[in-house]
């Protein structure tokens, strides 16, 4: 390309100081260019340095980090060498930022319009009335509903997908030459993600704006990026055109990333079924909700007439958008949120709705694993203490027997026994999720309720957790109720799938034939919304945004 690149990064090095005061280099000499109007994706797992690199283009480093070497040229400026106040002039006007979670990036106490046009006020770009007019035009271009009035609302009054598009409007108001997208659709449902991606793509193309798209999701990147840079451990592993990376990956790490997308066919666990064996869990006409209970019904009703059964040794997937009642269902089955109507049977015996009236044995046989191991594990307790608690509670173990069992549990989830002395904060995300799982296994359950247990993990790490779940199932004869918004994860481990919408089950499908058998329009919408590793997928969708 003869054209002068918009951004040139040469030998970029960023260092960080750990809590212990040790200095580490997290970005180890990056070189890349971005041409005007080009969208470049930075892809990699968490800790690969992709967000750090993207933020450095604005001269910003998160607390504890600092640019230690190299140059970052954006337009006519060397961002690395500029003073903080000079960088402030650049931000919003030449380079702007679309955050990962717009819900967190909007100030809750200010109206949306005030925040969207703040850049024009900070940099004195245009009068307020003109800025508001421009914002409304952007709202319209981003296909936001009620473009004329949406700005008068507060951030908590609009949906997540709308906020993400409003964040894009906020980034574009100052006519930047480069926009940094930091995993902007990761927190969204697949159906919403499509609308947001389409809106981003059309606005960027219309303005000829260059972009940096940070993501861990290759399928999403395939829809928007012209070029992909694969990062790992702060170094570039591979760089190339989107088609090349997707179809002719050269580096083993890129291949591993792509392999994680390959559908893994689920092999149902085979076991001899005893005659007249009761299903492990049977749920009939279940209703549950939150809030004050009046006349036996809660104020906010979530689950409506849910029916399903899980056979022993089989896995049931539950899919649906956020707010569809997936987690509520798990909480109702676990007894944390007592159902107000309906019946549950566990292994043929009645399962009472609330925890207090269930027998200790029933509690033991049905365990729950929560989504965020970070919040589910007590940060002040050692791994040994965390795993010992259910051992003492359910099995009355103590002393040497307990210690031996802790070692056994750690071995089951493929962690070294020495890890029992550590605190949760000293473990990686994947390791923490394994401990979370080991704690459930400590009770020796028959049914495990898994609530989005892989959604906070990187693709490769999540795939390893799924393998572990399968292995444990064949060893211990477990059954799983697997809640996820990620269809491919559900496909990889489940026999049957419940599709939920607004608290109701719209359809129950065999997991292996989900795409083929889905009849309900919502199931079909959900299945067709999963991004494919195909650059033409988004453009080929003939659906009104």
């Amino acid at each position: 390309m003869t054209q002068q690149p918009l951004v040139s990064v040469r030998d970029l090095r960023i260092g960080a100081v750990t809590d212990a005061g040790r200095k580490v280099e997290i970005i180890k000499g990056l070189d890349f260019d971005i041409h005007p109007g080009e969208i470049v994706a930075l892809i990699g797992e968490s800790g690969s340095g992709k967000t750090t690199t993207a933020l450095s283009l604005m001269g910003h480093c998160r607390p504890g980090c600092a640019i230690t070497g190299g140059s970052i040229r954006v337009g006519r400026h060397d961002v690395a060498a500029m003073s903080e106040s000079a960088r402030a002039h650049l931000r919003g006007t030449e380079v702007s930022y679309v955050p990962q979670s717009a819900a967190a990036a909007f100030n809750p106490s200010k109206r949306i319009m005030e925040q969207v046009i703040e850049i024009t006020d900070i940099h004195g770009l245009m009068p307020k009335a003109e800025a508001e007019k421009k914002a409304v035009e952007l709202f319209r271009a981003l296909a936001l509903p009620h473009p004329d009035t949406i700005g008068t609302r507060y951030p908590h009054q609009v949906s997540g997908g709308q906020l993400q598009r409003l964040a894009a409007a906020m980034a574009l108001i100052g006519d930047p030459e480069l926009v940094i997208f930091d995993e902007p659709t990761t927190a969204l449902d697949v159906t919403t993600q499509i609308e947001v991606l389409k809106a981003f793509k059309s606005v960027m193309a219309a303005g000829g704006i260059a972009g940096v798209y940070v993501s861990h999701d290759l399928a999403v990147v395939a829809q928007v990026a012209d070029r992909i840079i694969v990062l790992k451990g702060g170094e570039i592993q591979e760089e190339g055109g989107t088609e090349d990376i997707l179809h002719r990956p050269a580096h083993p790490y890129t291949k591993a990333l792509l392999a994680a997308f390959e559908p893994v066919p689920h092999v149902p666990a085979t076991r001899d079924k005893a005659p007249n064996e009761a299903p492990i869990l049977q749920v009939e006409h279940l209703f549950a909700g939150y809030g004050a209970v009046r006349k036996g019904e809660p104020d906010v009703k979530i689950l409506k007439d849910v029916n399903f059964r899980i056979e022993r040794g089989k896995n049931l997937g539950v899919i649906g958008e956020s707010g569809s009642g997936k987690s509520t269902l798990a909480r109702a089955v676990a007894g944390i949120l007592p159902a107000y109507r309906g019946a549950m049977k566990f292994d043929g015996a009645e399962l009472r709705p609330d925890l207090q009236s269930r027998s200790k044995d029933q509690l033991r046989r049905c365990q729950m694993v929560f989504q965020l191991a970070d919040t589910a594990l007590n940060p002040a307790q050692s791994i040994e203490a965390i795993l010992s608690r259910p051992l003492a509670f359910y099995h009355g173990l103590s002393g040497r027997a307990k210690a031996a069992r802790v070692a056994e549990l750690l071995d089951m989830v493929h962690l070294p026994a020495a890890m029992r002395h550590r605190l949760p904060g000293e473990l990686s995300g994947g390791q923490k999720q394994r401990i979370n799982l080991a704690r459930a296994l400590a009770a020796e359950p028959e049914l495990i309720l898994c609530d989005e247990i892989t959604s906070a993990l990187d693709t490769v790490v999540a795939a390893a957790i799924l393998d572990l779940l399968k292995e444990l199932q064949s060893e211990l004869g477990l059954s799983y109720m697997f809640i996820s918004h990620d269809l491919s994860t559900v496909e990889a481990i489940c026999d049957e799938v419940l599709v939920m919408l607004k608290g109701e089950v719209v359809e129950q499908l065999p997991a292996a034939r989900m795409a083929a058998d889905a009849q309900h329009p919502y199931s079909r919408l959900l299945i067709s919304s999963v991004p494919q590793l195909d650059t033409g997928w988004l453009a080929g969708l003939d659906r009104a945004g």
């Binding site: 933020l55 604005m58 910003h60 106040s85 402030a88 002039h89 650049l90 931000r91 919003g92 006007t93 702007s96 930022y97 955050p99 979670s101 967190a104 990036a105 909007f106 100030n107 809750p108 106490s109 200010k110 703040e118 850049i119 900070i122 940099h123 507060y154 908590h156 906020m170």
Partner: protein
């Protein structure tokens, strides 16, 4: 600004809680003073009094009626502005208190007027330039002030300003101060002592509350929009820290209520606290109870105002 229904319900709830707390507190105050050792009639008449004389006085003062009946009539009196008669001086309590209360309120008002703006400015400033020399100096100063009890601060102030430097009088007769200069002199030391103790906590809590909001993604977003440090802190962080700051201010100011007892005693300042301390030594129950109620009510008032501020500053309750 239009408000949602939830907003009004929350306000009503908070005021209801305050009213209920007030009744419980009056109950506690009344019966706690009942439990004070010593018999008023005995104290009034002295050791030499005969059994009959003491019994007669008890009957005359109504002390032999059931406690709950006396509580209810006392509560009724409070509600209608009748604080009862002082046992010792036989003057209406309201009359005894009114002068002293205005003195105490003046002391509290002057302290508040000086310490709140100062503390907020220092706290926000320390948060804005977190880790700077200014921040560290403020931190060290506040910690040293917090760790020194106020009677120590008061004694030190007397030692330095009254004894060594001879700038200020060691005792305050605020009510009698004639000229503005004299008044300033009379107030200086009690205000310095109270202000020191009260602002230290406020500075620390304000700094912590602002820093917590500075570390949120929306403040980072403001930084990435090119906002100055000032705009980030004052425009984005501060509005969201108002709730915790209001509570910190209320808590610190409520400390005025307790701190005032020591300060008024040390500087011999003619306020309510001094009155109460004197009342305890003479077993003047109606006076003690009224003073205690005044302290409790002011405490409750401050906390309620802080909670209402927190509710008002919550954007989720706006429409």
């Amino acid at each position: 600004m239009p408000r949602s229904l939830t907003f009004y319900i929350l306000i009503a709830q908070r005021l209801g809680i305050a009213a209920v707390t007030l009744v419980i507190v009056s109950f506690a105050v009344f019966f706690a003073t009942e439990l004070l050792p010593g018999d008023v009639a005995q104290v009034l008449l002295g050791q030499a009094a005969t059994e009959e004389a003491v019994a007669g006085l008890r009957q005359a003062m109504g002390l032999d009626e059931p406690a709950i009946w006396r509580f209810l009539s006392w509560l009724g009196g409070l509600a209608t502005g009748d604080f009862g008669m002082s046992y010792v001086s036989n003057i209406p309590v309201a009359e005894l208190i009114s002068d002293r209360l205005s003195n105490s309120l003046r002391l509290a008002a002057v302290t508040t007027a000086i310490s709140v703006p100062l503390a907020l400015a220092l706290g926000i400033g320390a948060a804005m330039w977190q880790g700077s020399l200014f921040d560290r100096a403020v931190s060290i100063l506040t910690i040293s002030v917090i760790s020194v009890p106020e009677f120590m601060v008061a004694t030190l102030a007397v030692l330095i300003f009254a004894v060594w430097l001879n700038w200020l009088p060691a005792l305050s007769y605020g009510a009698e101060a004639g000229s503005f200069g004299a008044m300033l002199k009379a107030y200086a030391m009690p205000v310095i002592t109270l202000g020191f103790v009260v602002s230290a906590q406020m500075i620390r809590m304000t700094r912590a509350a602002v820093i917590e909001t500075i570390n949120t993604p929306y403040v980072e977003m403001a930084l990435l929009k090119g906002a100055s440090r000032r705009r980030m802190v004052l425009g984005h962080a501060l509005p969201n820290a108002l709730g915790p700051i209001a509570n910190a201010v209320a808590l610190s100011l409520s400390y005025l209520v307790g701190g005032v007892i020591i300060v008024e005693t040390i500087f011999n300042y003619p306020g309510v606290a001094k009155l109460m301390v004197d009342a305890v030594s003479t077993r003047d129950l109606p006076l003690i109870q009224s003073c205690a109620m005044i302290f409790c009510v002011s405490y409750l008032l401050l906390i309620t105002i802080a909670d209402l501020t927190a509710i008002l500053s919550n954007p989720r309750l706006r429409r």
